[in-house]
């Protein structure tokens, strides 16, 4: 009887405890899929990466779920976007995890926005302006030059957290950077027709993409970041559309279709649903796929 009980307890523990593969040496907790993908490109089999969110979740509105706390507890490196994107949940997950190594300020806490120059830094901070990010727009992942810059900084950080594998990370970055630069050349060539194309955006989530490709953003459907567009706002935009016509509306995969569909139907321009991050479409299964698919969709929309 007691033997049976002990066996059961051992069986239960053996299911619960070895949750983490033994081969990988660093557990990386990435807040969003793009940094998870980047960490995998650089770290290869030396890292065990978890993305805390999926492409279909609004990165501003994530809950500090127990599973995230459990995962943060046994991570050696947190890769966050920073610039207050994860302000609503990450600080709590980190504090609740009881893991001192991944607290802000420690080597185990990395912010991607620390490696790039942010756009749209607000001149004034007021919550009446909606969901403003004091540090600047945090949606940096849609400019491949940013990906490379973050990759370089992340490599240095991985090497700091796990010095034994520093050479492997450096080699991983070199491999990735070579492929990435080649791909960037390809993308920039393919995207030439997009230069100067006027577009509407659903949420101010594409400034880096627009800056890279030279898209001309006429404005956002959301009157204020994080505030859903009302009918008066959309009617006003429709008037502006008549004066200065945009060619398409850009919407991230996680967002509600209502306002962009309304606008598209009346303005007779296509809505281009962009994967926004890795996993946002079936083609965007990794970082290369993300940009391949983004460009393909933009070019189709601009035709």
């Amino acid at each position: 009887m007691i033997d049976k009980l002990i066996l059961r307890v051992v069986a239960l523990l053996s299911v619960l405890l070895p949750a983490l593969p033994a081969t990988a040496s660093v557990n990386v907790f990435a807040t969003v899929p793009e940094w998870a993908a980047l960490a995998k490109e650089i770290g290869g089999d030396k890292v065990n990466v978890l993305a805390a969110t999926t492409a279909l979740q609004d990165p501003h509105r994530i809950e500090a779920r127990p599973s995230l706390i459990a995962r943060a507890r046994s991570s050696q490196l947190v890769v966050a976007t920073g610039a207050d994107l994860e302000i609503g949940w990450l600080p709590l997950v980190l504090r609740e995890s009881g893991n001192p190594a991944i607290q802000p300020g420690q080597p185990g806490y990395f912010e991607a926005t620390s490696a790039v120059r942010l756009l749209e830094v607000p001149a004034r901070l007021d919550r009446a302006d909606g969901d403003v990010h004091p540090g600047g727009n945090p949606h940096i992942q849609l400019d491949p030059r940013n990906i490379l810059a973050v990759g370089e900084a992340l490599t240095a950080r991985l090497a700091q957290v796990d010095p034994a594998n520093a050479a492997a990370y450096k080699a991983g970055l070199a491999r990735f950077a070579e492929r990435w630069k080649a791909a960037m050349g390809r993308w920039e060539q393919a995207a030439a027709p997009l230069r100067g194309v006027p577009v509407w955006v659903q949420h101010k989530g594409f400034p880096y993409l627009s800056a890279w490709l030279g898209l001309k953003e006429l404005g956002a459907l959301e009157p204020k970041p994080g505030v859903e567009a009302g009918s008066a706002q959309l009617a006003g935009l429709l008037e502006r559309q008549k004066a200065t016509p945009a060619r398409m509306i850009l919407r991230p995969a996680y967002a509600r279709p209502t306002s962009s569909d309304w606008m598209a139907e009346r303005a007779k321009i296509p809505v281009v649903v962009l994967p926004y991050t890795v996993g946002g479409s079936s083609e965007a299964s990794d970082l290369f796929g993300l940009f391949d698919d983004t460009l393909r969709r933009l070019l189709v929309g601009a035709k």
């Binding site: 999926t54 500090a64 706390i69 459990a70 009881g98 001192p100 490696a115 942010l118 830094v121 004091p134």
Partner: protein, 469 residues
């Protein structure tokens, strides 16, 4: 200096050979001399002029060269300024310098209500249960300012984080400040351990750690009102440990003063109230998350006074409470922005054994009370910003043995099972504001039902920390 017009000069030069050729014979020595003089004069004048022009040219050249150099210098300065500007924009965001840079995060929660109550809130009681003495009743009828919460938090240094939360209210025209929480948390304990000391909301149960502005209904569950005076607030220490497993497992224990219900004011050394709790949680696929817990609270109140039957009575003995809690949240694809659903419930069971000192005759009577309560609530966000919710509350006064005393002496302990049903709808234009309408049918008083309508707003100003799961 003699001025020579270029036209005249040309004419003279042109005239010279002709003049010489025209009169070769007549040309006297004097004429020739005069001509030579004129020529020399012209040559000298010319030379001076050429020299002057050459000097001016050289000057101009020097000036333009230095202008080019200045321009180049300006370019370099501009580039430096740009790179400085870029560098300052690039890495760490600029922080304001000076003393204010280290100010703690401050937030103010404004929580006001308008109520329409069928019964007088000053007569509110939960029949069948020993009164907790806490603020369990509804606010006064009509408009009431309610409690505003003022909270501060910041990392103190590399080892500690401090939190403070005060509630500001008005009671009979006098301002009242209550210390809700003032505590220090550890930041750097190893191995998943966390320590907290000071006044804090106990980690038992689920809703106990939520501040009133985080509640899905305007008031606390009946079971919490009856067993903890709406929440268990400890002055003491807490130790928590998160297990290094994929499944979330958290274990905690607290030792506290136990000076408040279900404890009583103490005059002895050491701790008077102990708790132990465990929570497990995880995800079910992408769309669902859950958490469940089991908690225990144990205290030995001495002379815990309560008013009933026109006398002041007191309970002394042992009080033990068990809490089982669970929460389940669902959102399509895990994206809770548009729609989500949550189901939450807790079951509380308390056993108190000891003696009751009856104020009517001053004698002690052996007493044993086994009572329980539960609530179950569901909240559904059916479209962005709009939620509806229902809640049921049940209490069982259960098995009450009061020695020789009866409900004639202690009418509040007459057997009665209070219930309450609530429904609410709320609208949150942003994460920082919420407006709520709640209706409830409250049968806390034996034989009387109180139909309640609540209108409430909850607003968060300033820094606002993330909410717990």
């Amino acid at each position: 200096m003699k001025f020579v017009r270029p036209a005249a000069l040309c004419a003279a030069l042109a005239a010279l050979p002709h003049a010489a050729l025209a009169a070769p014979d007549a040309a006297s020595e004097a004429d020739l001399k005069q001509l030579r003089n004129q020529l020399r004069e012209l040559r000298e004048t010319y030379q001076q002029r050429i020299d002057a022009l050459e000097r001016r040219l050289a000057d101009a050249e020097a000036r333009s060269a230095s202008a080019v150099a200045v321009a180049a210098e300006a370019d370099r300065t501009a580039a430096r300024a740009e790179s400085v500007a870029k560098a300052s924009a690039e890495p760490a965001p600029q922080r304001p310098a000076g003393e204010s840079a280290f100010n703690p995060a401050v937030s103010l929660i404004i929580d006001s209500k308008f109520t329409r109550l069928q019964r007088d809130p000053s007569t509110y009681r939960i029949d069948g249960f020993i009164p907790s003495g806490g603020e369990v009743g509804p606010p006064k009828k009509g408009f009431s300012l309610g409690e505003s919460e003022l909270a501060f938090s910041a990392n103190i240094d590399h080892l500690f984080r401090g939190n403070a939360r005060f509630s500001l209210a008005e009671d009979d025209g006098a301002g009242v400040v209550e210390v809700e929480e003032v505590n220090v948390e550890s930041l750097a304990l190893p191995a998943g351990l966390k320590m907290k000391a000071g006044r804090f909301l106990s980690g038992v149960g689920y809703i106990n750690q939520q501040h009133p502005h985080e509640w899905d209904f305007t008031d606390a569950p009946l079971a919490y009102k009856a067993f903890f005076g709406y929440r268990l607030q400890n002055d003491g220490v807490q130790l928590r440990w998160v297990a290094p497993t994929a499944l979330f497992m958290e274990f905690g224990a607290e030792a506290a003063n136990g000076g408040k219900f279900p404890g009583a004011e103490r005059h002895t050394n050491g701790a008077g109230l102990w708790t132990a709790f465990a929570h497990v949680g995880g995800d079910i696929g992408e769309s669902s998350a859950w958490q469940a817990g089991l908690s225990h609270v144990r205290t030995h109140p001495q002379e815990r006074a309560f008013e009933d039957g026109g006398f002041t009575n007191a309970f002394s003995g042992r009080s033990q409470t068990w809490i089982a809690d669970f929460i389940y949240k669902w959102a399509p694809g895990g994206n809770s922005r548009d729609t989500y659903f949550k189901l939450q419930g807790e079951y509380l069971r308390r056993t108190e054994s000891g003696s009751i000192n009856y104020g009517g005759d001053g004698n002690d009577y052996a007493a044993r009370l086994r009572q329980s309560g539960a609530y179950l609530q569901a909240v559904y966000q059916f479209m962005p910003r709009w939620r509806v919710g229902v809640r049921g509350d049940w209490l069982r006064s259960g098995n009450v043995d009061l020695g020789g005393l009866t409900s004639a002496e202690l009418p509040i302990l007459a057997g009665y099972d209070p219930t309450r049903q609530s429904a609410m709808v709320d609208w949150s234009p942003s994460e920082f504001s919420r407006l709520r309408l709640q209706v409830a049918r409250d049968k806390s008083r034996s034989g009387e039902s109180d139909n309640q309508v609540w209108l409430q707003y909850v607003m968060s100003l300033g820094a606002h920390g993330a909410h717990k799961f």
